[in-house]
């Protein structure tokens, strides 16, 4: 397991809450993650030292900012094993997904075409496709999940047809935490001439990703779920696809020239998609987040979470009042309920013990029917969690039926 005691020292938020009345046990990492000091410092460094805009100026400061932005782009490209020109900075996964939907989906799909999703997708991988469907009359269908809620290549093979143009799925689903075999899915999609869009919001922070090996066509991620700042993320796209798709935001910085007759010459990707001033400070921080993750090692992080998850599952299974919905899942996500307690009531009870978890439908609203419950509690682990966090959760859930304690103490 990772040396969590030392890792925690890198994250100022833990120290800043050391003297709180209750402990800070953060188990909502699928929502967002805390930032190491190196990331926070890099973000400040932009404002303290560099300050200029990117892609604009003719002076030293601006030149330096450009270099830093491109350094992060190259870093992310090596992190994912692709070319820098295949990395588009966005505000995060939602924007990346929307860019694919608007820039590729609306441009190339038509009536009679089909988009394949699953019932376990996050809203950001569903709603943009609803828009594509509404605009182009392409149809949305769902790859059936198996009994546990997993999406398998076999299931894709059963439903895919020659009309399928897009298969868009999460590599790790945000409620159930199953790891999907994207490589095999992409292979099947390509056999039918469809593209594969991979939502990596919940996978990129926790496992090594090699987009060339996966052979996915697009991949979307958010920095803030992987120790980086909020408001920055990326879209990876195969260069030929990026070249032929449209930007969905037009403006300064994405064109070479335009005239009053409406003629525009857009820049090559990725600049074509990066109109307007980006969140430059966050790009500085994102670069450091990648460094931090690489120093620990994605494989080590994955193994740490796996071990901690097993520990948690074995421990929580002892509790008769707890229902676990995804015992066999792969990622550090545990979805549960306390019998007879509404998830939000339980989450606020856990809050009174200093435990941060997410209750609700977790944006995957379609799952409701499958899990046969209106909502759940999601526990999501990361590199700064250890067994003591799980023990605290266990102790709190043990008494979880008395959830109104939180209201009166």
């Amino acid at each position: 397991m990772l040396d969590v005691k030392n890792i925690k020292k890198d994250f100022p938020i833990f120290k800043n809450h050391e003297n709180d009345k209750k402990p800070l046990i953060y188990l909502d990492n699928a929502a967002t993650t805390f930032k190491p000091k190196s990331v926070i410092d890099a973000t400040s460094r932009y404002y303290l030292e560099d300050g200029a805009n990117a892609h604009r100026g003719d002076y030293d400061l601006a030149y330096h900012v450009d270099k830093e932005v491109e350094k992060c782009r190259a870093h992310l490209a090596s992190f994912l094993n692709c070319f820098s020109r295949e990395i588009v900075f966005t505000s995060g996964t939602s924007m990346s997904m929307n860019l694919v939907a608007y820039g590729y989906g609306i441009k190339f799909l038509k009536e009679g075409d089909e988009i394949l999703l699953t019932e376990a997708e996050h809203a950001s991988n569903v709603l943009p496709w609803f828009k594509v469907s509404e605009t182009t009359k392409a149809k949305i269908n769902y790859i059936p999940l198996d009994e546990e809620g997993r999406c398998t290549p076999e299931a894709l093979r059963k439903v895919i047809t020659k009309n399928t143009k897009v298969v868009s799925i999460a590599q790790v689903t945000n409620v159930l935490g199953f790891k999907i075999d994207i490589k095999e899915m992409a292979k099947i999609a390509h056999e039918y001439g469809a593209i594969l869009v991979c939502d990596a919001a919940q996978s990129a922070p926790h496992m090594k990703i090699d987009v060339k090996d996966l052979d996915c066509d697009f991949l979307c991620l958010s920095a803030h779920k992987m120790l980086g700042p909020t408001g920055i993320g990326a879209l990876y796209g195969k260069f030929d696809l990026l070249k032929k798709m449209d930007p969905f935001m037009m403006g300064g910085g994405d064109n070479a020239r335009f005239d009053m007759c409406g003629n525009v010459a857009y820049l090559e990707p990725p600049a074509k998609f990066e109109a307007g001033t980006m969140n430059i400070a966050a790009i500085y921080g994102f670069d450091e987040a990648l460094t931090y993750l690489e120093n620990i090692g994605l494989e080590n992080i994955e193994n740490h979470e796996k071990e901690l998850r097993n520990y948690a599952i074995n421990k929580l299974k002892e509790l008769d009042n707890v229902i676990i919905y995804n015992e066999k899942a792969d990622a550090g996500i545990i979805t549960l309920n306390v019998k007879g307690v509404f998830p939000q009531d339980e989450a606020s009870y856990l809050n009174s013990k200093g435990i941060c978890v997410r209750s609700g439908e977790h944006c995957a609203k379609l799952l409701k029917d499958r899990l046969k419950t209106v909502g759940t509690i999601r526990v999501s682990l990361y590199l700064y969690n250890d067994k003591s966090d799980v023990d605290a959760l266990y102790e709190a859930l043990k008494n979880g039926g008395n959830f109104l304690d939180a209201f009166f103490n």
Binding site: P343, S348, F407
Partner: protein, 150 residues
């Protein structure tokens, strides 16, 4: 009203959560339901999703019901409110709601009119739950202020 101990408050909330008086599975089984005014209250920040129905005749609330799913705090507060607004004029009902909101937001309030709603006087200590405690109240005041879902 006598001041409530925490134990009593807890009992009131659990009682109205576990066996609400005014919760219906299917509103169409209630006679005259076609004439009820209704509003759906679903929250963007949680999974609470209830619909409130008021049967109003000549500015008097004859009956109040709700359906849907919600947490203990939302369910219990909505149920108590439904009990309390029955047979009251619209004006009196709005007065109760305004005093209830004052209590939740730690302003001065008239605890006499709040009856069992006094069980929620500690809500501000769990500020994230104020939204739960006001879901039903906002719904009822929306209807009384003229909103009506088709």
């Amino acid at each position: 009203m006598l001041s409530l101990t925490n134990e009593m408050k807890r009992e009131i909330i659990m009682e109205h959560y576990n066996s609400p008086n005014n919760k219906v599975e299917d509103i169409t089984k209630i006679s005259n339901f076609e004439n009820f005014r209704k509003i759906r209250m679903d929250s963007d920040s949680c999974i609470d999703d209830i619909t409130i129905y008021l049967d109003i005749e000549n500015d008097v609330i004859k009956n109040a019901y709700f359906s849907g799913v919600a947490c203990a705090i939302s369910t219990a507060s909505t149920d108590i409110l439904c009990d309390m607004v029955k047979n009251k004029s619209e004006k009196d009902a709005l007065y109760i709601i305004s005093q209830y909101e004052n209590m939740l937001y730690e302003k001065e309030y008239d605890s006499e009119v709040l009856e069992e709603l006094n069980a929620f006087s500690e809500t501000h200590k769990q500020a994230a739950r104020i939204k739960c405690a006001t879901l039903g109240a906002f719904g009822i005041s929306k209807i009384l202020n003229g909103e009506n879902d088709e």
